[in-house]
Amino acid sequence: MKRRKFNLMLEIKNLHANVNGKEILRGINLTVRPGEVHAIMGPNGSGKSTLSSVLAGNPVFEVTEGEVTFEGKNLLDLAPEERSCEGIFLSFQYPVEIPGVSMVNFMRTAINEHRKYKKQEPISASDFLKLMREKREVVELDNKLASRSVNEGFSGGEKKRNEIFQMAMLEPKLAILDETDSGLDIDALRIVANGVNKLKSEHNATLVITHYQRLLDYIKPEFVHVLYKGKIVKSAGPELALELEEKGYDWIKKELGE
């Protein structure tokens, strides 16, 4: 495995986390540098979604041990919104419906909070609308969706496209795509993946969390990790994803002596 000699972006050391007193993450170690694409794969219940939630700071999960640094800052000390403003974006596996909050109002508030964090002036209404228009095209999002309440009545595919649209708006440094492929048909999958690829640069990184290989046909990772029972049990190049696709996860369990 070759690693670029860039600065560290995300560094996870021995991360343990609980939900409702039950330990889900049992010592995760992972390093992500700018420009890299990592895929985290693993069977159901291995802790993939927990990892993304913990990185985004979902208060349901309790971190019991370990460290996470993001660009030198202790991530675990930051509130979810501070993490977002620092440049972490989570594309939710199940985007939340928020009736009564329009997409426009929601996105403008988010953009302005990010700008405030960077000590910038609020965006003007015309610039904002221009930005919306421009970024909508990234994921071919219908103008009508933008005028509706957040995710309310969106189809599964629309919700996921809406996630990537928000990602385009907020221009994160680290994008965490939590099972973004679930519930997508092949066309929607291509649109979403193209969107993600368009936003990729050498300055940002992507963490793709997925159960299947098929998303990785579009978003090509350089590193593939297998998460099992709350630990990364195997890391390798993209060939690992293909091997998993072919053989399933059982051989890994065997390797681990189970």
């Binding site: 349901v60 979810p80 939340v96 928020i98 988010a110």
Partner: protein, 447 residues
């Protein structure tokens, strides 16, 4: 009957003065109302209908009355600068319970229409007034309606004769002003005849903070056949103001009415809304919101009577309760025996944001007909934690996210408003209220 006694004595002493400064129509039911009040007194918490708000307590203070109808030294046209932007309205004022007439301020209304002082109306159209005044608000059923009928000397009237449409919203601003603690007892009478149409926006403002005010208001609304009437009530009172308001609506066939009650800021409030659907295919939209904190309390008590078949009612009330506030909601829907094909839908949703806030809700369906569609739902809960996290994960601060979600919670109540300029204005006011920026009405320089 200790609290009642001082008012009984007052009436016995001041009877002559009260009558002298009022009109025959208003004087006519006074004695009967007085007898009813003596018999029933103020309702207490022991009464099922008032179990969550002790209204008798509101009256247990030494308030001033303006029975001699002295002019209150205030010009509301000076004090009240706020106007709903883009809402070109026909503006009227009540100062405490007196109609405020400013010479030279005219309104362009058809001659057949009457909007103004109830006392003047009942002198100009005694038959019309007598035919409607006190006909919905029965003094034998409710001690406070009786009390109001005993002491009310004036109020506000809207009379829209057959076939007339008033496009512009009528705006009634009620101002509470006093150098001592004051009580005002006012009446609203609204007659919208067959195929006529009007909209009323009525708001309450306390001007003198630090003074205690008590307002009793009885509103009677007659919506004729094929008529349309919208009534928006917005309360922006001070924390030391108590309000007891009873609104009675009677709807004829094919009529359509909106009654929307918005408690933006208050002290202690008890609102009664009673809607009777008397004609087939009448439709009513009863709704409201209450945003309360500190030790404020709001008790909305509603009753929709489906007396005839083929009527529809939509009812929705929402509350957000913060700090030590108390909310109560009672929603009774009665579908009478022959009221087949009734559709009645009711929702009451509430958010409590602190451990000290209390909410009581009591939806009631009483159904005596079989071919009906009725439902009610009530929830009490908190802000959705998933939605909160979603917003925070997009960089929105927790405080801001909570504000957004509370605002979103109220969105469908605001959407029910059929007056666009007011709708936009209210969105702003609600947002400000949740940001704690609005202690009182922002545009009102006297506040």
């Amino acid at each position: 009957m200790i609290i009642e006694q001082q008012y009984i004595d007052l009436y016995n002493q001041a009877k002559g003065m009260i009558n002298r400064h009022s009109s025959d129509v208003l004087n006519a039911p006074r004695e009967q109302a007085f007898a009813d009040f003596q018999k029933n007194g103020f309702p207490t918490k022991k009464s099922e209908e008032y179990k969550y708000t002790d209204v008798s307590e509101f009256f247990n203070l030494d308030y001033g009355f303006n029975l001699n109808r002295l002019a209150v030294p205030v010009d509301p046209y000076e004090v009240f600068k706020c106007d709903v932007p883009n809402l070109s309205s026909l503006l009227y004022f009540l100062v405490n319970d007196s109609y405020f007439a400013k010479p030279g301020v005219g309104k362009s209304l058809p001659a057949s229409v009457f909007v103004g002082s109830l006392k003047d109306f009942s002198e100009k159209h005694p038959d019309l007034a007598a035919k409607h005044y006190g006909k919905l608000a029965k003094t034998e059923n409710d001690g406070i309606v009786a009390f109001n009928t005993v002491f009310a000397q004036d109020g506000f009237v809207i009379y829209i004769p057959k076939g007339v449409t008033i496009e512009k919203p009528i705006q009634l601003v009620n101002i509470f002003r006093g150098d001592v603690d004051m009580m005002s007892n006012r009446r609203l009478l609204i007659i919208v005849e067959e195929n006529a149409e009007a909209k009323l926006l009525s708001c309450d403002h306390t001007i003198d903070e630090g003074r205690k005010f008590l307002s009793t208001q009885v509103t009677e609304i007659f919506v004729g056949k094929d008529a349309r009437f919208d009534f928006y009530e917005m309360e922006e009172n001070g924390v030391d103001t108590c309000r007891v308001a009873s609104t009675f609506v009677s709807q004829e066939a094919n009529s359509n009415a909106v009654v929307n009650s918005i408690t933006l800021h208050n002290g202690r409030t008890r609102n009664n809304y009673e809607v009777t659907l008397n004609g087939q295919h009448a439709e009513t939209h009863l709704g409201g919101m209450a945003i309360v904190d500190k030790t404020q309390s709001v008790d909305n008590h509603t009753f929709i009577d489906h007396a005839v078949p083929h009527c529809t009612s939509h009812e929705m009330f929402k509350y957000v309760l913060d700090e030590k506030s108390i909310g109560a909601f009672t929603g009774r829907i009665l579908v009478r025996k022959d009221a087949q094909k009734t559709e009645a839908y009711q929702t009451n949703k509430n958010i409590c944001t602190t451990a000290d806030a209390k909410m009581y809700t009591k939806p009631q369906l009483e159904i005596y007909a079989d071919d009906v569609k009725c439902s009610h739902g009530a929830t009490i809960g908190q802000i959705d934690e998933n939605a909160l996290f979603y917003l925070r994960a997009r960089g929105i601060s927790e405080k801001e996210a909570r504000m957004l979600l509370k605002f979103a919670f109220m969105a469908d109540v605001i959407d029910n408003i059929r007056m666009d300029a007011f709708k936009d204005r209210l969105k702003l006011l609600v947002e400000k209220r949740f940001r704690n920026e609005l202690a009182k009405c922002a545009g009102c320089s006297g506040c």
